[in-house]
Amino acid sequence: MSMIINLAYFAAAVLFIVGLKQMSSPTTARPGIIWAGVGMVIATLVTFVHPEISGGVNYTLIILGIVIGGGLAWWSGKKVAMTDMPQMIALYNGMGGGAAAGIGAIYLLQATPETVSNTGLAIAVTGSLIGSVAFSGSLVAYAKLQGLMKKTFTFGGQQVVNIAIFAITVILGFMLATGGGEIGSATLLLFFVLSLAFGVLMTLPIGGADMPVVISLYNALTGLAVGLKGIVLDNPALMIAGIVVGAAGTLLTQLMAKAMNRPISNILFSQFGGSSGGAEETIEGTMKEIQANDAGIMMAYAEKVIIVPGYGMAVAQAQHKIWEFTQLLQKRGVDVKFAIHPVAGRMPGHMNVLLAEAGVPYDIIFDLDEINEEFKTADVAMVIGANDVVNPVARTNPDSPIYGMPILNADQAQNVICVKRGKGSGFSGIENHLFYADNNQMLYGDGQKVAAELVASVKALG
């Protein structure tokens, strides 16, 4: 029997790696997740005959737990809107971290001097700490993105308090790990409480804009926690899947942080967006306004149009209308491309998902690196619902908080049209110099309404 179980776990590990590999290319991504899913089902089913599972009550609890947890997740996952995807990922990820911490708790509760080694205890303790932090931290991230928690929460000496709590947690963990299996229940309880508290306190001061990087980091941490639990439970499937995700998640976190030009240490240990920009700078030029009808006609007679979508477009649910507008332009022979900044949307790649939902094929969607040189040759760049990612001060003004962030060079197009709800600065509160540029015209209005007007204006041309 154990042969079958081990083979099944081996197969699952292979399927996970193959699945993840396929998920890194758009053409094979869909089969990738399905293969990984097959691996998960195989591993789960075979575990029912695992020799270490005993007791009828426990079997009942396992099945009941899977039905409840799986059912709720299935329902919520099917229901969630694409714009809310980042916080949903945070929530599911937190659940995984909590589960890893739970395994650790049971292991430590059952530990006796005869059954465990100090190494085993140390690994269990480390995994529990990481899992707990990922759990409570992800829940805070979820609450923030979901709008349940509006403000960033800071107080004087926060860093000191955080470090103190972390230090005490590590000391408690050290006591647990070196106790040779003599686990005091008070120590154990305090260890878990402080681990959870640390996750909350660490995440509270981080602003919403940085949340994607944090979620990605917690994803990597959960992977690591799961991998460590795999060692504790002597389960290679957990080990391999956990560590692979831990490493992949770490790299993904780095890529995201790089795209946002925010070193990971800055995100975690400094507060962003509290004070923005310092002194008021004077901006040359004035904002010019354009009507939707004129903007539509301008693009209809252009040769090349690049659309720069931002989260604002998705919030206004304008992506379907924008795609309709794009198709109308394409029928007239206009070359239309979409330019996506790495942090458009709420996390890297989120905007691609939102455009894909509207039916935009991915081969007219381009990354910053791929398209930035093309703005020079574009007749019109239309910026809709994006702001900071096209702000030229990131190139020119070293005092600006976003200085150095790679931006889309929309300002280099012949004409720029910025669609915006109203006057005012962006997410980070920084004035956008593009709005005052000579080649720029502002198109005020709700994204969806504007997009509908653009569609109408092109249709009217016949």
Partner: protein, 103 residues
């Protein structure tokens, strides 16, 4: 005991490099689905929670194990559902799917 001492360390090291390598060539357009997909993969923790609950003996252990199984099942199922939903939407405008990898 099938994984002993240093063997665990070797597996750890190789798995870490594997994870790093698979992701290194991913285009930005797949970052969100991939994060979600890797989130799903660590849902394998479900297997661990099943075993942990399986040898739970006291009511406290059973309670912790039960909650852990619920959480882990949520991680696995939820991770799969949202990843699949996102990837389902990726389409190309070309009818014949050649290697349209824009990495």
């Amino acid at each position: 005991m099938i994984i002993e001492g240093f063997i665990a360390l070797y597996i750890f090291m190789l798995a870490a490099f594997t994870g790093y390598e698979i992701i290194s060539k991913v285009p930005v357009i797949l970052h969100t689905p991939l994060m979600s997909g890797s989130n799903f993969v660590h849902g394998i923790v479900l297997v661990g929670t099943m075993v942990a609950l399986g040898h739970a003996t006291t009511p406290l252990e059973q309670a912790i194990g039960f909650v852990a199984v619920i959480l882990a099942a949520g991680n696995a199922v939820g991770g799969y559902v949202v990843t699949e939903r996102m990837l389902e939407m990726f389409k190309t405008s070309k009818k014949d799917d050649k290697k349209g990898d824009n990495a």
